[in-house]
């Protein structure tokens, strides 16, 4: 997906598939339009007086991988459940593929694939039965069902286990089976709630590469919740961060990093050990010294580099290496959820 070509012309308020199509057809020729496959507006959900999701609004564009990040209990799963028509919101509204999730939950469910966070496969059914059962629930015709099940199990490396009971599979294999079950009706939009949580690195990598492929080659829009910042940075075109039920940031990883330039650090290596107090006085900012290496948090990178060069000259030091390190998504995430930043 080429995100720089995207611009955002309208909110899609289509209430059924007809107006969704009309909205698409009426878009001006020549322009690169983005259709929002998910529109959430002021979504709110309370449980026993506790607000789990508080006035959350965002849009997900067709063809993107959208990451939904947040600490435990932030409201990610509740948001996914509202968007997939499982839980009705207490306030606000949401449209998925043009359908109102409250008024037309079955139309939404028919068109999306879901891998719920806490879900499991049917352990007493075989791998094949699990996939074909889902295909039957989605109304996939018998001939297509069998071809599709075989293709998916083959892609996920599960075809040789097709007659095995699902309880014999490892956790990673069961997760892959759940993804097969979610894809059996070829949905244009896939929701995955913590798909790699608790998996070994090999299984997690396999799932990530499969998701990337699905998005790139089949154009499937992916809504992904994750704890793993590295995963979000690797996979997602845009991310939203939710904390204590409130959405605190929606952007692409690059823009988020640009917003947090104050989290950039400069790493410098001198030819000999330096005195912590003297370098702190010279630069006037936060410095971690470890022998001949210093890590300096830089609000203004140019000022810090100039200061380092002056310091080296005045103390007869030689600079062996100097690197500017961008903040990781994890740094930004922690900054936001710990309440140090207002986005």
């Amino acid at each position: 997906m080429n995100s720089k070509n995207f611009y955002y012309p309208y909110f899609l308020y289509a209430r059924d598939v007809a107006s969704y199509s009309v909205a698409w057809a009426l878009s001006r020729p020549g322009a690169v339009y983005v259709v929002d496959v998910i529109v959430a507006e002021g979504l709110t959900k309370r449980f026993d007086g506790l607000t789990a999701v508080d006035n959350v609004s965002f849009h997900v564009h067709e063809g993107e991988i959208f990451g939904f990040l947040g600490p435990n209990g932030a409201g990610k799963t509740t948001t996914v459940r509202m968007l997939t028509g499982i839980l009705p919101p207490d306030a606000g509204r949401a449209f998925v593929l043009g359908f109102d999730v409250v008024k037309k939950p079955l139309e939404v469910k028919r068109r999306i694939g879901v891998v719920p966070e806490a879900a499991n496969v049917y352990l007493d059914l075989t791998v094949w039965e699990n996939v074909t059962f889902m295909a039957e629930l989605y109304g996939v015709p018998r001939g297509v069902r069998e071809r599709r099940a075989r293709e998916l199990l083959d892609e996920m490396g599960l075809l040789k286990y097709r007659d095995a009971k699902a309880r014999r599979l490892s956790k990673g294999m069961r997760q892959r089976l759940l993804i097969c079950m979610a894809l059996v009706h070829e949905p244009p939009l896939l929701f995955l709630d913590e798909p790699t949580s608790g998996l070994d690195p090999q299984s997690a990598r396999r799932i990530r590469s499969m998701l990337r492929e699905l998005n790139k080659e089949e154009g499937v829009t992916i809504f992904l919740t994750t704890h793993n910042m590295w995963e979000a940075e690797e996979l997602c075109h845009r991310i939203a961060i939710i904390n204590r039920g409130r959405l605190v940031a929606v952007s692409n990883p690059r823009e988020l990093k640009d917003m947090f330039t104050r989290l950039r650090t400069v790493e410098v290596e001198f030819n000999r050990a330096v005195d912590e107090r003297s370098i702190l006085e010279a630069l006037g900012c936060e410095v971690d010294v470890s022998g001949n290496r210093c890590r300096i948090r830089a609000r203004d990178v140019n000022d810090v580099i100039c200061g380092i060069v002056d310091y080296a000259k005045s103390h007869g030091l030689e600079i062996l290496s100097l690197n500017v390190i961008e903040p990781s998504l994890e740094d930004i995430f922690l900054e936001i959820v710990e309440g140090k930043a207002d986005v």
Binding site: I86, P116, A118, E129, L137, L178
Partner: protein, 245 residues
């Protein structure tokens, strides 16, 4: 319409594959009515036709209510319920699928027992009433069992205990052991509130024993009970579904 029938059948097939051999189903559906009957008939001089009515009523009642209470708590515990809710099926379809699996189990076991009864010399005289009774009673008790499984528990034993609290008293007030016509007046009124009474009456009609309620009224009563149980079960399950997530 056809799509929904296919979905109901898919859910029923899944239930049959998974739940027919689960411990609580075997114990409450097969072993319990068998031993209950033995305890009742042992060393007594009971007329074969009377005995057949009792055993048939207990069999269709216990077998049709054996699968239903297991499904929802089991799916909650094994965390497959959310996956099911994510698919394009509403609660009515899910419960109709569960009821179908439960009904088929009830019908199969009851027919097997009926065949066995015929082998030992008890003949079903009115096949039409018998068939109609087995089918509608199995459907009715299946929905009753789904109604009982509506609390959002994740332990099948808890729901089984709850359903036993209702099932055992029903057995004793529904003309299974004593014909309704021979009951005291007050007990007779209570008996007429139980759907199992109408099942027992229809079994009596099918072997030409004396009945207290005409067959057409018994059929109508079971049908009304079925509709009420189904509608209330759907409402209660819809309400408890979010708590199962």
């Amino acid at each position: 319409m056809f799509e929904n029938v296919a979905k109901i059948w898919a859910i029923a097939k899944k239930d049959m594959k998974i739940y027919y051999l689960k411990g609580p189903v075997v114990i409450f559906g097969l072993l319990l009515p068998f031993f209950l009957y033995l305890a009742y008939a042992w060393n007594r001089n009971i007329e074969p036709a009377e005995a057949m009515v009792s055993i048939m009523a207990m069999t269709v009642f216990f077998t049709s209510t054996a699968v239903g209470p297991v499904i929802a708590p089991w799916e909650t515990r094994s965390r497959t319920f959310e996956r099911l809710l994510s698919s394009p099926v509403n609660m009515s379809i899910i419960l109709m699928g569960d009821a179908l699996a439960s009904t088929i189990f009830g019908i199969l076991i009851t027919v097997a027992i009926a065949v066995l009864s015929m082998v030992i010399g008890v003949h079903i005289v009115n096949i039409l009433v018998f068939t109609c009774n087995v089918v509608i009673s199995a459907v009715c008790f299946s929905f009753l069992s789904l109604l009982l499984s509506s609390p959002p528990a994740d332990t099948p034993a808890n729901i089984m205990m709850l359903s036993s609290l209702l099932k055992f008293p029903l057995i004793f007030v529904s003309g299974v052991f004593t014909p309704v016509g021979e009951m005291p007046y007050l007990l007779r009124i209570i008996a007429l509130l139980s759907p199992l009474t109408y099942t027992t009456e229809l079994f009596r009609a099918s072997v030409h024993l004396e009945t207290y309620v005409p067959a057409y009224i018994a059929i109508a009563a079971i049908t009304v009970y079925t509709l009420v149980f189904a509608m209330v079960a759907v409402k209660l399950h819809e309400r408890s579904a979010p708590k199962r997530l």
